[in-house]
Each structure stands twice: as structure tokens, then as C-alpha cells.
């Protein structure tokens, strides 16, 4: 149990906090979500002991699928040790007493916010996303009554117009994260605010993907081996962000990088956003161009004087 697990030490709660009736309700919603890939299933989201917008949807989904033999990995921004990942991991350590890990390949359930691990996931894993706004059409049409109709009629003209206006104005689509996808040739879906760099990973992924939006009370899913296409145009095909340098610490290429500012004189370095992936590579002996730089040592996971 980690230290933040103590926060939840207020009394005896059911395994994984949720009562069994709530789990059943969420489990039924998950099954519907799997049967209708990309469709947002309404569910009676519960009030959780963490704020709405801080992962209550993902937490409810994870709590409903988790068993005592599961091994949970909790990441935020690709990293296991960001504050909210630490807090949510502590919640499950306390309420479910399950094993947790930083290692992607060891986990059976991975809950994430904003990233998909770099390492390919397997059929034996479930990836749970925390979703703030599940409705891909919400910023084009704020009314649920209207967007529901659009999904029913498969009327996604509004979305295409928006993307096309981007192209007309900027020469390319100006959406960099939460980039809309079409699932199984039917539903347009918000892949949660992961950078579009991660979109190709959700196409034909071997692991089951579950998406939970607590405040908006929606659950949706993408089964393994499902066609997921990022929306684009024939003359403007979807393309992902490319970094022109490798990870400064482990030298990895074609991975998503965080830009870390080293000083106030323009010094910066780029390092893997997926901290477990980066550490594993370094343990295997890979070294990036800045691995030996004293400024980089703190970032590389060496002991850091922690501050509040």
C-alpha cells in the first residue's frame, strides 16, 4: 500500500469500493459498449471520492472489472508517477488490495489518462481510458438531444465541415489531440484527449479498450481487432506528429516525447512520455544523446528532492 492509499482509509468498503449493485449496472453498460463499438452507453455514474474530471469514469470502469488476481498499472500523461496516477493507484491498492505495477507487460488492467503505452498491448490486457468529454460532436453542437440524433442517423456532416474548414484556413487539420475516429465504419468516437500520435494504436489493437466518462455518465468500448479510422480526406490524409529527434535519455525514435525545459535560457530536451518504456530501454543499455548531460540526470528518474 502506498502512502496516498491512507487517504481512503476511512472505514470498510466493498472490494474496489463500489457496491455490487453499482458494479452490475456498470458491467451491463460495458457489455453493451462492447457489442456496439464506439457507441456511448449512458450509465448511472456514481459520486466517487475523487472529483469529477479527475478520473471518476475510468475508476468506475476499472473497479467494475477488477479481480483480486489482476495486476493494475495506472498512468497519467504516459507516466506512472504523476500525481493523479499516484493518487488513483493508491485508491485501488487500498480498496481492492490488488497488485500494481509500473511495467506495461506485467499489467492485466491499465488505466490511463491522455496516453497509450508505446509497447504493443496484448489480448490478455484491458486498457481503460479516463474520458472528460465523450461526445466527439460536443464542441460543434452542445446539445445532447441533437448529437444523439446525429449518431442515430450517422449524420457526421458537421464534423467533416469542421475539419474541412481547418484545412481551408490553415492548410491542415488543426486538431492535435482527441482526434475523432470512426469505429467499425459506423460511430464517430472521441478517443479521449490522447494526442493523435496515439490514434494508429487503437486501430486493430489486440487489447480490449474501455472508455469511462464519469461526469458525463457514458461508457464506450472498442473490442480487440476492430477497425478504427482517424477521420480525414483523400487529398488530406491523416498523419501523426513526427519528432525530429530521438528521446534524449534512451534514444528511442517514433515514440511520443515530452518537451522538458531545463533552464530559462532556452535549454530543453525531449524525453519519452512513456516513462516505463524509457526506463526499460535504458536498463537494456540504450542511451540517448543527452543521457550523460548533468541537467538531464534529474529527469531520468534518479533520486529527485521532492517538493510539495
Amino acid at each position: 500500500m502506498n502512502d496516498t492509499a491512507e487517504i481512503y482509509d476511512q472505514g470498510e468498503y466493498n472490494f474496489a469500493y463500489l457496491d455490487e449493485q453499482t458494479k452490475r449496472m456498470i458491467r451491463r453498460a460495458i457489455l453493451k459498449g462492447i457489442a456496439i463499438p464506439g457507441y456511448q452507453v449512458p450509465f448511472a455514474s456514481r459520486e466517487m471520492p475523487m472529483p469529477y474530471g479527475w478520473g471518476t469514469g475510468g475508476v468506475q470502469v476499472t473497479a467494475s472489472i477488477l479481480g483480486k488476481d489482476d495486476c493494475l498499472k495506472m498512468i497519467d500523461q504516459g507516466s506512472d508517477d504523476t500525481t493523479n496516477a499516484v493518487s488513483l493507484r493508491g485508491f485501488f491498492e487500498k480498496t481492492a488490495g490488488i497488485r500494481t505495477t509500473y511495467e506495461t507487460s506485467e499489467a492485466t488492467v491499465i488505466q490511463t489518462r491522455h496516453r497509450i503505452p508505446e509497447k504493443n498491448l496484448t489480448e490478455n490486457q484491458v486498457l481503460v481510458f479516463q474520458v472528460p468529454i465523450p461526445e466527439p460532436l460536443r464542441f460543434l453542437e452542445p446539445r445532447e438531444t441533437e448529437t444523439r440524433k446525429m449518431h442515430a442517423l450517422e449524420d457526421y456532416g458537421l464534423m467533416h465541415v469542421k475539419l474541412y474548414e481547418d484545412i481551408a484556413k490553415n492548410g491542415h487539420i488543426a486538431t492535435t489531440y482527441a482526434y475523432p475516429v470512426k469505429v467499425n465504419d459506423r460511430y464517430v468516437m472521441d478517443p479521449s484527449p490522447t494526442p493523435k500520435f496515439d490514434n494508429p494504436k487503437i486501430d486493430q489493437m489486440e487489447a480490449l479498450q474501455l472508455y469511462g466518462a464519469g461526469r458525463e455518465k457514458r461508457i464506450y468500448a472498442i473490442p480487440p481487432y476492430t477497425k478504427v479510422k482517424s477521420l480525414d480526406f483523400e487529398d488530406y490524409p491523416f498523419e501523426v506528429q513526427k519528432f525530429d529527434k530521438p528521446c534524449g535519455l534512451c534514444g528511442a525514435e517514433n515514440v511520443y516525447l515530452d518537451e522538458v525545459i531545463l533552464d530559462d535560457k532556452g535549454g530543453r530536451m525531449f524525453v519519452c512520455s512513456d516513462s516505463d518504456y524509457c526506463e526499460e530501454r535504458r536498463a537494456e543499455g540504450h542511451a540517448g544523446p543527452m543521457a550523460a548531460d548533468p541537467a538531464a540526470i534529474q529527469i531520468g528518474g534518479a533520486t529527485v528532492e521532492e517538493t510539495i
Binding site: E6, D76, Q77, T176, V304
Partner: protein, 373 residues
């Protein structure tokens, strides 16, 4: 060195220790007791019970103490506790006509059966800071003369109007009509009035106040009169299947507001007064009145009125009234977003490069043209 988001467990633990210390403040000052909060900050307690959707004065007092007086945070603590409680069923509707009234005012009649009972109120007080309260031992035990209200003789104003046919009747719901409950079923639109009222009762006081105010300033006028505001104690009854009759579980204090609104009639319905309804835990009159006005505003469709204003927009109002949801989502912006920001950084840099490149080409083009001329 930027370590805020890679702070890890120790940082979180220390932050919460520091919070506990700051919450307690100067230890030479006595710690607040829950009784003190429940007794002396009763309006805060009532608000926390209402927006926290759980009637328990002691727990509300604890939540207020724990949250350092942040009432939305306190209501959140109540909500999170509430969801863990077993649910035995739904109580019988409370009968506010049988209320043990402590305060009752009507703006629509000079006098009425049962009379006007001012009761405890800030109304008509002069808002001057009372420096005698600053004394350690404030002025206690002052004897107050009160009139014991005879509750049999205190009919609700809307019932009086109803006797004359001037007030729309209370909606009749069958015994078997299921009780809508947005904590058990996700809200879908259009939402019926039972769910709307539940949502408003849990809604943020400030949000409802602002919406109600907007209707007074022309954004969806509903011509309200404060038909009646009453505050007092009502009994909560629960129908016990195994006994075959309702048993009293206890009593709660509520404020009820019935706004009386003009309705000009339609082809189907004669002109009459209509009502907006507000009911909240404790003495929170501002919220009860606001709730009644917003409730009435959202009835535009049923009464054949036009939708012209935000307070009438059911989906807008119900989707944004809950301050636990609102505060969570607004404050989630404090969480690290650097992955998405990185994607945006990249795009903005690229777009700037393209913009300058285009400018440069245009200038070169101009220069070339000038040279050619």
C-alpha cells in the same frame, strides 16, 4: 527544477499533512466543535446538506470543518459519503401543509388564515456589523416572545387560490408512478419535472440565483409573486411493506417556496395562475425562491410559452447546475496536461513557421514584381 507533476507519493502525503495543519490554524485557539458549527453556522450546514443531497446536520458540520469552510468541498464530501449508504427505498411525499411552521410569509396577501409569521429572518434587519458579537461571550439567552403557530389553521396560499379555481391544480401522480431519481438513472432529455426538481434541489445556490435573477431582468420573464415561503419541520414517513402502513422515521427542516405566476391561458386552458416550486433542506430561502423561479421558467413548453432565455433551457440548466460536477471539471485543469500541450506546441510552432514563410514569399514576390516593373 520542475517536479510538481512527478512529485510522487511523498509530495502528496506532505501536501495533505500541510493542509491538515493549515486547516487547524493556530493551535492556541480552541478547535471548533461540530455542535458549534451545527448550531451557529446553520445556514452553511443547510446549504451543505441540500447540495450534498444528504440530511444529517452533524455530518454536514464535520464536512464544513474538514473542508475549512469551503461549502462546495463540504457538499462534495457529503455526496461521496452518501453514495456508500445502503438504499432501503423512497419515503412518502412530505406534506408541507402539516408543517410545524417557524416562519411563513406571503407577498400576495396582506393577511391570511394563520397569519404572517416572520420567524427568524435577516429581512428588515439593518446590515450593520454587530460589534457586540465580536466579544468572546456574545449576547446569549435573550428571551424572545414567539407566537405558537396553530398549524391546522395555516393552509398553503396555493391551496387557497386553488379553492377558487384560480390556481392550476397540483399535478396528480398515480401511486404506481415510479419516482424519477437522477442518482440512479442517467439524466436524459427532455427531463420530466420530477427529475428537474430533483436536479434543482441539489443544484448550486449561486447558479440558480443568477438564473432566477436573469428572468427578472427580461431573459424569460415569468411574472412571479412570492405566493408563500414557509420554513419549519415536516415528518418523513416510510411505507413499510411488511407492516402494510407508513411509519414515521423522523422529521427534517425544510423551506418551501411557491411562486405564483400569471398565465394568460391558451385555446385549451383558461387564464389562471401557475406555480413554480422550490423545496430545500433547512432555512435556505434564497435558494428555494430561485429554484421556484427556474422551475417555472422551464415549464414553458407545457404551458405553450416561447423559449427565449437561458433559464428556460432545460438541457442547459440541468447540465450545469451541479456544483460538484462543475467544480471537478473546472478544477481538473490543474491536472497535468503536458502531453496534449506538447501536441499543441508542435502545431502552433508549425503554423507560425508556415505563416512567416508565406509572408516571406509574398514579400519576395512583391520585390520581384517591383524589380520587373
Amino acid at each position: 527544477m520542475y517536479v510538481a507533476v512527478k512529485g510522487g507519493e511523498k509530495a502528496i502525503r506532505n501536501a495533505h499533512k500541510l493542509l491538515a495543519k493549515r486547516r487547524r490554524g493556530d493551535t492556541s485557539v480552541p478547535s471548533l466543535t461540530l455542535e458549534q458549527i451545527a448550531q451557529q453556522l446553520s445556514h452553511s450546514v443547510a446549504r451543505v446538506m441540500g447540495e450534498g443531497s444528504l440530511y444529517d446536520e452533524t455530518l454536514a458540520a464535520l464536512a464544513i470543518k474538514q473542508s475549512r469552510g469551503d461549502l462546495i468541498e463540504a457538499a462534495f464530501l457529503m455526496r461521496a459519503y452518501r453514495t456508500t449508504l445502503p438504499r432501503f427505498g423512497y419515503s412518502q411525499p412530505v406534506d408541507t401543509a402539516k408543517m410545524l411552521v417557524e416562519r411563513r410569509v406571503s407577498a400576495t396577501y396582506k393577511d391570511l388564515p394563520g397569519g404572517q409569521v416572520l420567524g427568524p429572518t435577516f429581512d428588515y434587519s439593518h446590515r450593520l456589523l454587530d460589534f457586540t458579537l465580536a466579544a468572546e461571550e456574545d449576547n446569549t439567552g435573550q428571551s424572545v416572545e414567539t407566537v405558537q403557530a396553530d398549524d391546522d389553521a395555516m393552509p398553503r396560499v396555493t391551496d387557497l387560490l386553488g379553492d377558487e379555481g384560480l390556481m392550476e391544480p397540483d399535478p396528480v401522480t398515480g401511486e404506481d408512478t415510479p419516482v424519477g431519481d437522477l442518482t440512479r438513472e442517467p439524466l436524459s432529455f427532455p427531463a420530466d419535472r420530477d427529475l428537474r426538481l430533483q436536479n434543482l434541489a441539489r443544484g448550486d445556490e449561486g447558479f440558480l440565483l443568477a438564473l432566477a435573477y436573469s428572468t427578472q431582468r427580461g431573459y424569460g420573464r415569468t411574472h412571479p409573486f412570492a405566493g408563500e415561503i414557509r420554513y419549519g419541520e415536516v415528518e418523513i414517513e416510510f411505507f413499510a411493506e411488511e407492516l402494510g402502513f407508513a411509519v414515521t422515521l423522523g422529521s427534517i427542516k425544510v423551506t418551501e417556496c411557491q411562486m405564483v405566476n400569471q398565465f394568460q391561458g391558451s385555446a385549451k386552458a383558461a387564464p389562471t395562475f401557475t406555480r413554480g416550486y422550490g423545496l430545500v433542506f433547512g432555512q435556505v430561502e434564497r435558494k428555494a425562491m430561485s429554484m421556484a423561479m427556474v422551475d417555472r421558467s422551464m415549464r414553458w413548453q407545457e404551458l405553450g410559452e416561447e423559449q427565449v432565455a437561458p433559464a428556460q433551457d432545460i438541457e442547459f440548466v440541468l447540465s450545469h447546475s451541479d456544483n460538484i460536477q462543475a467544480t471537478g471539471f473546472v478544477e481538473h485543469l490543474k491536472l497535468p496536461h503536458y502531453v496534449d500541450f506538447q501536441a499543441e506546441l508542435d502545431l502552433v510552432r508549425r503554423m507560425r513557421d508556415e505563416w512567416f514563410e508565406k509572408r516571406r514569399q509574398e514579400e519576395n514576390g512583391d520585390a520581384a514584381q517591383e524589380a520587373a516593373e
